[in-house]
């Protein structure tokens, strides 16, 4: 079962749950993000306007369940790590917004996890917003965050010249956090990244809001061509290597694909640590 199918199934189940669970049972809890499913979100692209739309945010536990950090989990070392990472990037970019490519050395290294959480970390800051762009065409994952997997994404944007950028930017139930999926469930050729349109898209996304940090969820670095193009489009590159999954040779070849000038460093992911031992 593919990840997409899983996501669809889960979405369906959750929707079902919503229908079954009485409102009283939900109590004072924040409505699950699935509650907003179906609403066509025409997000006004300002933080203040974003804030209006964010009544239906996901709870800390729900985010936790989905593997996304939440400020409430201050005790969790992961939260701390991503905050530090964010601070590091902030220092590097001198408080300017930036385009950050997060690329895993190889598949299964958790590149998407790091990208997602890095974006979330940026979003923790009330003065900043984060935009997660799914650039992993072969194994997309951002759509799982969206209320509906079929919401328009990059593919739609490239195929439809008239489409406005705002139509592909979707809220994900986290404050100041937006995402662009690959769009639909179809394959999009890598050549799109080379196109001027992509460049323009990134530029416009960056230029439009100064407080917006754009995180590109890149393909594995084994896909050297895409990695190289995307690294050119971005300001910084974070390379994700997962404990016990990556060989030094893979890291070596991955590092060769990107400019060392843009390289922020390596994120060592999934370091084993006993959770109760801080």
């Amino acid at each position: 079962m593919s990840k997409i199918e899983k996501a669809l199934k889960r979405a369906g189940e959750e929707r079902g749950n919503l229908q079954l669970v009485p409102a009283a049972a939900a109590g004072g809890r924040t409505a699950p993000w699935t509650a907003i499913v179906g609403q066509q979100i025409q997000v006004p692209e300002t933080i203040s306007r974003m804030a209006e739309n964010e009544r239906k945010l996901l709870s800390a536990d729900e985010l936790w369940e989905r593997g996304i950090i939440h400020p409430q989990h201050t005790g969790d070392p992961a939260v701390q790590v991503f905050r530090e990472l964010r601070t590091k990037i902030n220092q590097q970019s001198q408080e300017q917004n930036a385009v950050i490519l997060v690329a895993a050395v190889s598949e299964g290294n958790g590149g998407s996890f790091v990208a997602r959480n890095l974006a979330a970390a940026f979003a923790l800051d009330s003065a900043k917003t984060a935009l997660l762009v799914d650039c992993n065409l072969r194994n997309p994952s951002v759509h799982q965050l969206l209320p509906k997997a079929t919401l328009p994404g990059l593919a739609d944007y490239f195929e439809n010249p008239e489409m406005d950028v705002s139509r592909i930017i979707h809220p994900v139930g986290i404050a100041r956090f937006r995402a662009i999926s690959t769009g639909g469930l179809r394959e999009i050729p890598g050549e799109y990244f080379v196109s001027m349109k992509m460049r323009r898209l990134i530029e416009s996304l960056r230029e439009r809001y100064r407080e917006r940090f754009i995180v590109l969820d890149g393909p594995p670095m084994s896909d050297i061509a895409d990695t190289r193009i995307l690294s050119e489009l971005s300001d910084y590159v974070l390379v994700v290597a997962r404990h016990g999954r990556t060989t030094n040779a893979q890291i070596e070849s991955g590092l060769n694909a990107i400019s060392s000038r843009k390289l922020l460093g390596i994120v060592f992911n999934d370091e084993p640590r006993i959770p109760w031992i801080r």
């Binding site: 936790w64 969790d76 016990g244 922020l264 390596i266 994120v267 999934d270 084993p272 640590r273």
Partner: protein
């Protein structure tokens, strides 16, 4: 990559947490393997027994000098050879039932070697031999050890018996031989004596005395003979000097004597008278007459001489000295002849004695030799007789087991082999190995796995900063799952340990 001990420990803890199932799985696996190995490890029992070779039996002082106890000390040394020898081994194989399924000769060889390898024969001190035999079967270990001891003792006693018997037989044979020799010598001496009667002790002394006597006699006689001969020679000479008849007594002699008287008268007359004086002429005439007469007489005698007819000369008178000398000479001749005869006789006797002495000496030498042989043989024979009786007593002692100086000091008993690994050792080893093997493997993986497992290894290797080390983000569901998993793993470990402990106790109590 340089790693500090605390880093290693931390990394190992994290790694073991990460690979917790593997660790627990390995722990269980190692324990199970060790338990199985311990359970299936062939049980080893050692049967042991001690045999004392008692040289100072009660019989010894009693029989001291009369019987010789067979020396046992050296047997300790070759006890192993005896016990593991083919004779005893073959019987052991048979009695212990190894031959029940009729193994081939080659298989039997294998069995021999096998049993040999599991048997130890150790001399303890001077007098004690310890036999140990290992086997997986308790009863068989006991049985084989017991059989070894029994057969060994039997063998040794038989050996001892046969030894004393052969010693007796040998001495007996020797005694008989000497008896025969003695008899033969005695017979020879008897024959020698009978054939040579003189040949008896002391006859040589007698002979020499006789020889000396004879020699003395010959010498004396020879001296006498020589004296007689000298006397004879002297008499001969005297006889030759004496006339047979006195000359004066002859006519011619009387004439000559008258003539000489007349001549003297003439000479005297001539001093006083001249030749013409009558007296002188008368005297002269007388002389002439007498001279004619004497020459006539001489002629007559000369004429009578060839006819060997003694001229009866009325004036011949036999010389008495001559007669006397002749008589003595003749007497002396008789004496000489007698002496000569005596010497010859003595010489004959001497020769006889010498001849007899020669025969006596050769016979005597043989006799002496025979006597000496006889003497020695008799001594040896008596000694042998004495020894034979001692040997007989020794033999009887051995056959009555009175001199049996083998005793089982410690009866055969069977117990678990001291050196064989115990079950609890397997269990303990399992637990220890169960901990160390996974950790060792984890450490090896940490060191040699090409996959990156340590963040600082990346920065060190690629000279790239590590921007962040992201721990695993545990979702509540995952945490719950982890809790369950850890409980399960703990349970598995507990069950494993409990199983080990239970099996150890069961094994210890000998229930199974």
């Amino acid at each position: 990559m340089q790693m500090y001990p605390e880093q290693i420990v931390k990394a190992l803890i994290n790694e073991s947490f990460h690979s917790r199932r593997l660790v627990v799985g390995m722990f269980v696996l190692v324990n199970v393997v060790m338990l199985t190995a311990g359970w299936l490890w062939p049980k080893s029992f050692t049967g042991s027994t001690s045999i004392v070779v008692d040289e100072k039996s009660i019989m010894e002082p009693l029989m001291k000098g009369a019987a010789v106890a067979t020396e046992m000390a050296d047997r300790n040394r070759n006890a192993r050879e005896v016990i593991l020898g083919r004779r005893i081994m073959g019987q052991v194989l048979e009695r212990a039932g190894w031959l029940a399924d009729h193994p081939t000769t080659l298989e039997q060889e294998g069995l021999f070697e096998n049993i040999k390898a599991r048997t130890t024969v150790t001399p303890v001190g001077r007098d004690v031999i310890k036999i140990e035999y290992r086997d997986s079967d308790k009863e068989r270990a006991l049985f084989v050890t017991k059989t070894f001891a029994d057969l060994f003792i039997k063998e040794m006693i038989a050996q001892k018996e046969s030894e004393t018997r052969s010693a007796f037989d040998f001495i007996d044979k020797q005694a008989q031989e000497y008896q025969q020799k003695l008899a033969a010598t005695e017979e020879e001496i008897r024959q020698l004596r009978s054939s040579n009667l003189d040949a008896r002790p002391g006859s040589d002394i007698e002979l020499s005395a006789r020889l000396i006597a004879l020699n003395t006699r010959i010498e004396n006689t020879t001296t006498e003979l020589r004296e007689a001969q000298m006397k004879g020679a002297s008499l001969e000479r005297q006889v030759n000097g004496e006339a047979e008849v006195t000359v004066l007594a002859t006519r011619e002699g009387q004439f000559r004597a008258r003539i000489a008287e007349l001549q003297a008268k003439l000479d005297t007359l001539r001093l006083s008278f001249h030749d013409t004086h009558p007296d002188v002429v008368q005297v002269k005439n007388q002389i002439q007459d007498l001279m004619a007469e004497a020459s006539a007489q001489r002629e007559r005698r000369e004429k009578a001489k060839p006819s060997q007819r003694s001229e009866q000369d009325e004036t011949v008178v036999n010389n008495p000295v001559y007669q006397q000398l002749r008589r003595e000479l003749s007497q002396n001749q008789l004496t000489i002849d007698a002496l000569k005869a005596r010497i010859a006789e003595a010489k004959r006797l001497l020769q006889e004695e010498v001849n007899r002495g020669k025969g006596l000496h050769s016979g005597d030498a043989r006799l002496v030799e025979l006597t000496r042989d006889h003497q020695i043989n008799r001594e040896i024979y008596q000694d042998l007789l004495y020894r034979r009786e001692r040997a007989r007593v020794s033999m009887n002692m051995d056959s009555d087991r009175q001199g049996s100086n083998f005793k089982i000091l410690e009866p055969a008993r069977s117990r678990p082999s001291p050196n064989a690994p115990r079950f609890w050792q397997f269990v303990l080893g399992g637990v220890v190995l169960g901990v160390f093997v996974p950790f060792g493997l984890l450490f090896a993986r940490l060191r040699f796995d090409p996959h990156v497992r340590l963040a600082n290894a990346i920065s060190e290797r690629h000279k790239v900063p590590v921007a962040a080390i992201v721990p695993h983000l545990w979702s509540p569901g995952e945490l719950a799952g982890l809790r369950k998993e850890l409980v399960m793993l703990a349970l598995v470990v507990t069950v494993t340990l409990a199983l080990s402990a239970t099996l150890s106790v069961v094994r210890l109590l000998g229930v199974l």
